[in-house]
């Protein structure tokens, strides 16, 4: 674990006063955090507090949801990702994503990993072979599948599928990898494999991970952002809920010495 303190090190991404709306309904209010380069940042918080929403805002996946809108700035290399001239396709090529449920394409293992490079126009068989092998090795899946890359990606186990999805993501050499609860569908052994993989990947990539598992956040992450829920009574007795950033700190500090009582209650498992 790192002993780094807030403010040092280079930032890869800077979120400034980010608000996300779904059809004009506020989902997350005013999030400002840095994502440090070559570090693992964990998002924790109760269900519905907007962890996935913020994560998806970072690589503009929310653009795909009709009615979703982002306010504020998300700066990447000093450039606002929501600026007018920015193409979301380019954003997603640099900021890759691994989803909660493993979602390999219904194609062979090889074609799954080669999908991204092919999108970029790589057609040369030798180059593709090399990328596929390096990516699958990079996600520690090589020994299990090397004999049969023609096999369908769907024929793998859940944990293998998730590592295939990670291989697929690193095949396009992104800068940042966003992972939304990548281990929630996996058993402890597969989880351990992914965690070790993350520690390896962070040497060359910046990683953001959403997790419900406090131990996991403590085990793997360098920084942790805790989100919580605010509620307000609407006229008509209806309740309005939205997520806010509760606390952001180096993981060790946040877990050992949380600043707010809300954070402390949550990490001790006494929340709601």
């Amino acid at each position: 674990m790192t002993s780094m303190t807030l403010g040092s090190g280079a930032t890869a991404i800077d979120l400034k006063h980010v608000k996300v709306f779904y059809s004009d309904k506020l989902a997350v209010d005013d999030v400002s955090i840095p994502i440090y380069k070559n570090k693992i940042t964990a998002f924790i918080g109760p269900s519905g507090c907007g962890k996935s929403t913020v994560l998806r805002a970072i690589n503009r996946m929310n653009d795909l949801i009709p009615g979703a809108r982002v306010e504020g700035e998300i700066n990447y290399h000093g450039k606002n990702l929501y600026g007018k001239e920015v193409d979301p396709v380019e954003v997603r090529r640099r900021i890759g994503m691994v989803f909660q449920k493993p979602n390999p394409f219904p194609k062979s293992i090889y074609d799954n990993v080669a999908y991204g490079p092919r999108l970029l126009g790589v057609t040369d068989k030798r180059t593709l072979d090399e990328i596929v092998e390096r990516s699958i090795k990079g996600s520690f899946l090589w020994d299990e599948v090397k004999g049969d890359l023609k096999k369908s990606g769907l024929a793998l186990s859940g944990g293998q599928q998730q590592r295939l999805c990670i291989a697929r993501t690193i095949a396009i050499e992104p800068d940042v990898i966003l992972m939304d609860e990548p281990c929630s569908a996996l058993d402890p052994i597969a989880t351990q494999a992914i965690e070790e993989l993350m520690k390896e990947l962070v040497k060359s990539y910046t990683i953001v991970i959403v997790t419900h598992n406090m131990q996991q956040a403590q085990r793997v992450s360098d920084f942790t952002a805790f989100y919580s829920i605010r509620k307000a009574e609407e006229t008509g007795g209806q309740e309005r809920r939205w997520g806010v950033l509760g606390e952001f700190a180096p993981t060790e500090q946040l877990f050992s010495n949380p600043k707010s009582e809300e954070t402390e209650r949550y990490i001790r498992g006494e929340f709601g």
């Binding site: 979602n103 390999p104 194609k107 991204g116 999108l119």
Partner: protein, 452 residues
Amino acid sequence: MATMSTARERVKDEAKFTAGLRNRHLRGQIWMRFFQAAILLGLLALITLMFNVVNRVYGLTAVRDAVPVSTFSDRPLEELNASELAGILVAQLPSGGRVLVRDSLIGQENYNNNREAPLSQLIQGVTLPDDVGALTLAQLQPENTQVIFENAFTPEDMRLTIITDIVGREVLESWTWSESLFNRAAIDEKVASTADWEGAQLEWRSWLNFSFLTSRMTTVASESGVRAALLGSLLTIFLTVVVAFPLGVGTAIYLQEYSTGDHWFERLIETNIRNLAGVPSIIYGLLGLAIFVRALEGITQGRTIISAALTMALLILPVIIINAQEALRAVPPSIREASFGLGATKWQTVFRSVLPAAMPGILTGTILGMSRAIGETAPLIVIGASTFIANDPTLASRFTVLPIQIYNWTKDPREGFSEIAAATIVLLLIVLLLFNATAIILRQRFRRSLSA
């Protein structure tokens, strides 16, 4: 009003549970029997139908030759070569076959323009010896017609002409397979005793045979074939699918993937496509007649296979679009997310992930459309399919197809024609089965490449 505790007691009541369980199983059993009976009924109807058709395809037939082959040839026609067949035509036809030459020229443009022109100009695509080619029709002598026949006709054509024009073969009556088996005595009796059936020959005959598939249509049922209709059907279906598949899948992709469905115009299109699937096919025929046969005659050449296929394409477009849309909608969103997440553009996502995953469903829709198109008759009657096509059709020629031929032959009162109609029905079913089998294999191939 049940209080909380009595409601719980009711749920936990063991005696009622046991009695009720028997009842629940029984109800299930009754429904299952009902479903089985429904299937049985359906099977029975299908078997009856198939029997009825197949029964007519095979059986005894009484045939009579007005002038038996043996009166002019000591060998059967199948063994004779071209010049011998031509010799028979010249010797047996009145006027030494000149009328036959003229008849086969009637309707051709060159002949209509100048009937006095030398034959080398009238008969196109055939090289005649110079002395014969220089003659006009009126100057033809029997030895000249012999040369013309040998050069211009195939032995198969000559054999058919001999049978229809010289032998005068006639189907007197044909019996179904069941009649032939169980009523043989009465049939023999009838053939022997009917006064003007002198010289009739009784034979077992399968109306669906290889030469039925490969020969041209003639006016004699026993010699007629469906070659032109079979080719017409295959060409029409081929062109229909070539036109309707890309158009239909393209429309479905637009409506499902690009259109948001918010605009009133997009909603109007969607609703209309759904309604079009239910429009009676004869309406499409009227549309095809107005647009393809009349308005676009310059392109389609009128009542041709092109017009027919375009009309059929319109007819099956809604089926393909609706099924393709359904298939696209069924592709899980996670696949799209994965693709976008890797930096794919909209088009790349659709083309590389969504479309392949939807392909099995899209093919199913296309099979449905194809099956419908191959059996459709009404719109083709409206746009003017021909009843009698002797030559092989091309895309821009007048045409007939299998269902049209079934329709024509079924209402033909002459003996033997309802039998060849039955044979054509069986053929149509076989073609349909082959198409579906091919498409299913294709679909499985796709599906296997998609899943484990």
